[in-house]
């Protein structure tokens, strides 16, 4: 059982939680994730470790309430417990000095981009960040990102904050600009990462993405998270989650992410219907 120490709502459907997990906190590195199970009947889902708190005993998780599991998780209060939490999983980000790095976070992906941006900055890189959301109310971690970057670009689809447009619009300008870019690192919806990859490919800029497929065990046991990278099947949980964006078959990733869409919708609707009764 893992105790929730604090909880904060960052946007309408985005929740940040500090969870007591000393063993994981002692090991987690940027780019790694945990698998959690909210309760006895819950499914196992992966979430990125956003940060480790000052005490070194708790980890911060940020998630968007999209299905039954994340909605249930979002309803837990400080002092309550998450049934199971295991990690850290996946290979950590390769943090080294690249030179000029552009870190891109889309939607709740900003939460995952943050630890990477911070680590890359500490490693001596010049970090330019681009973060985006559908609208102002959904934008998260702007201040935190500003703190760890040399420059920050903010954009929203509806123009309610920063510039109107997509993160890729900004990226395009940077690629066309005079400052050379040594690495682009993108985390967000698969379609965003695909557009980033397509954009940087002709410029030959090395681009890394952190993939977010469906997982079950997260330890290489089931193969649910398999994805084609450079024509080969890889397991995101143990071989990733980060891969060379130019090698990833995003179409396949997106199709696989939708595998249980109808069932997930059904489960959420049932939960909300029944949940409404007991408040």
């Amino acid at each position: 059982m893992f105790k929730i120490l604090s909880k904060e709502r960052l946007a309408e459907n985005v929740v940040s939680m500090l969870v007591e997990a000393p063993l994981i906190a002692g090991k987690a590195k940027p780019g790694q994730f945990v698998i959690l199970r909210v309760d006895e009947k819950g499914e196992r889902i992966p979430l990125t470790v956003v940060s480790v708190d000052e005490s070194g005993k708790a980890i911060r998780l940020i998630f968007q309430e999209v299905g039954k599991t994340t909605t249930k998780l979002g309803r837990l209060r400080p002092g309550e417990y998450i049934s199971d939490l295991v990690g850290p999983l996946g290979r950590p980000t390769e943090v080294k000095s690249y030179g000029h790095v552009v870190v891109i976070g889309g939607g709740v992906g900003v939460a995952e981009a943050y630890p990477v941006a911070k680590a890359l900055k500490s490693a001596g890189n010049r970090v330019t960040a681009i973060i985006g959301a559908r609208s102002k109310d959904l934008l998260i971690l702007e201040d935190e990102m500003r703190e760890v970057c040399d420059s920050l670009h903010v954009c929203t689809d509806d123009g309610s904050k920063g510039r109107k447009g997509f993160v890729t619009d900004v990226l395009k300008e940077l690629l066309e600009g005079n400052t050379p870019i040594n690495l682009v690192y993108a985390i967000g919806p698969a379609v965003m990462m695909k557009v980033v990859a397509d954009l940087t490919r002709p410029y030959g800029v090395h681009t890394m993405v952190s993939l977010n497929p469906i997982m079950v065990d997260g330890t290489g046991m089931c193969g649910a998270c398999r994805v084609t990278v450079g024509g080969e099947t890889r397991f995101v949980c143990v071989d990733g989650p980060e891969f060379d964006a130019h090698m990833v078959d995003f179409q396949e990733l997106m199709t696989r992410q939708r595998m249980y869409l109808d069932k997930e919708k059904m489960a959420l609707e049932k939960y909300l219907r029944e949940g409404a009764a007991d408040g």
Partner: protein, 476 residues
């Protein structure tokens, strides 16, 4: 009691639920012996002066004695006799391939039918369970501590044996629930999870602690395990990484590894989706690739989830199928179809979902290094058939999570841990056993390896501690 003392060569069959009934749910198929069945079967036992059955048991159960007790109606002594060697009798009585172990070497096997040793073991275990399992006897504390990595058959066996000898044992389990393959792999209808739970509780009652959600190699390193004060480590992490065919279309939606399919169903209870949150796809026309026990489990699970037609596709002929005969028989009885001498060459998709399979026919050539006749593709024999779900059950590689993160641990090219006959690895104080050493094998062979390792660990610990104090260790 009419059968008592009846025909020595006629084996008592185990009652099973009729196929049309059992394919509608996940309840256990085999019902076990009644007391009358058990007495009749035990009465057939010759009680050989030099029993050949015992060397056939990887964990050396005194089979002759426990059957002797059943004959006398002393079931309590029977189960106590079994538990001298085996902490998991209800599990082994159900999933051991007795036909190639103790029963194969039973004297009566040559004269007709061997004693149904597995069914009798199960009877004794179930008898005890129905009466309430008595408190286990713990060994005199030695103050030596052992860490066990993985709570599958090997881990539970090593832990149980070492705890019984008085060592303080902690098992580290990566998943949220202990049992390893017994929990995530073998379906409810073949091995009820309540049995697994109860037998794990028994191991815990010996003093074993189980810490779930800990991945050794990730959450804590092997060095940290020693730093925590453990004097020895046993690794039983199993063969948990699914093999794929690596043919086009294998990543289409609807194509599962058997591991994923069974894990969703068994560990996550996806067959109760609605009450439980983990979804599973339910195919209508399902193909299962491979013909081992896991393939049979997957095929029969798909059927129970509601598939209209399930076909086992295998590249050799029926004679070479690695599954237990009994499981093949059960599957066939339930209406599973078999397409032998066939191998898929690609999966065909539509909108990202699998819709069909292109296969090629095979013929059998000369025996290969496994002793089985090698399948050879028949040129130009390609054909297609419709499927909307595929389960790939062609075996597993060793789980790389721990071995990848430990320096100095000798492994083979495939990633198996190299040990001596007692399970000692290249790192002093570290033993390993089960599928992570041998590659995919049976529950009982993993338990046998764990038993040998536990004995050696015990000697090591006692040498380390006891000798200096002039203390005489209890013999295992």
């Amino acid at each position: 009691m009419a059968e008592r003392g009846g025909d020595r060569f006629k084996r008592k069959p185990m009652r099973k639920r009729p196929p049309h009934e059992r394919i509608r749910d996940f309840h256990e198929v085999a019902l076990g012996f009644t007391e009358e069945d058990a007495l009749a079967e035990a009465a057939r036992c010759l009680q050989c002066p030099n029993p050949t059955c015992i060397p056939g048991c990887p964990v050396e159960i005194d089979i002759k004695s426990f059957i002797g007790f059943i004959r006398e109606g002393d079931y309590e002594s029977a189960i106590r006799k079994i538990k001298e060697k085996n902490n998991l009798p209800g599990i082994c009585g159900r999933v051991c391939p007795q036909e190639v172990q103790c029963e194969e070497v039973c004297v009566l096997n040559r004269k007709g039918a061997p004693i149904a040793i597995g069914a009798l073991e199960r009877f004794a275990a179930d008898y005890e369970r129905s009466k309430g399992v008595p408190e286990a006897r713990r060994g005199e504390p030695t103050e030596m501590r052992v860490a066990v990595v993985g709570s599958g058959p090997a881990g539970l066996t090593a832990a149980g044996d070492l705890a019984r000898l008085g060592h303080e044992v902690t098992i580290f389990e990566a998943l949220h629930s202990p049992g390893g393959v017994l929990t995530y792999g073998i379906p409810e209808f073949r091995l009820p999870k309540s049995i697994v739970r109860d037998e794990i509780e028994y191991v815990k009652s010996l003093g074993v602690k189980i810490m779930t959600n800990v991945i050794v190699g990730r959450t804590i390193t092997l060095d940290e395990v020693f730093a925590m004060g453990f004097h020895a480590v046993f690794i039983g992490t199993g063969a948990g990484s699914p093999k794929f065919l690596y043919i086009p279309g294998e990543n289409l939606n609807g194509v599962y590894s058997a591991n994923e399919f069974l894990t969703r169903c068994n560990l996550m209870k996806a067959y109760l989706f609605g009450e439980y949150d983990t979804p599973i796809y339910i195919g209508r026309q399902v193909a299962v690739i491979g013909a081992g026990n896991v393939a049979m489990d997957a095929a029969r699970t798909a059927l129970r989830l509601g598939a209209e037609e399930v076909t086992v596709v295998y590249r050799r002929s029926e004679a070479e199928m690695p599954a237990r005969l009994e499981e093949i028989h059960n599957a066939r009885e339930e209406g599973i179809k078999f397409q032998t001498l066939t191998v898929p060459v690609r999966f065909l998709g539509e909108d990202g979902w699998v819709k069909g399979m292109e296969c090629i026919r095979m013929r059998l050539g000369e025996p290969d290094d496994t002793g089985r006749r090698k399948p050879i593709p028949v040129e130009g024999s390609n054909f297609q058939f419709e499927v909307d779900m595929v389960i790939v059950a062609i075996g597993q590689n060793p789980n790389p999570t721990l071995t990848r993160t430990v320096k100095g641990l000798n492994t083979s090219e495939e990633g198996l841990i190299i040990t001596d006959e007692n399970g000692r690895t290249s790192i002093p104080g570290v033993w390993a056993g089960g599928d992570i050493v041998t590659g995919e094998a049976t529950v009982i062979s993993a338990m046998g390896a764990a038993k040998r390792a536990a004995r050696d660990i015990h000697n090591y610990l006692m040498e380390k501690k006891g000798a200096a104090l002039g203390w005489i260790p209890p013999t295992p």
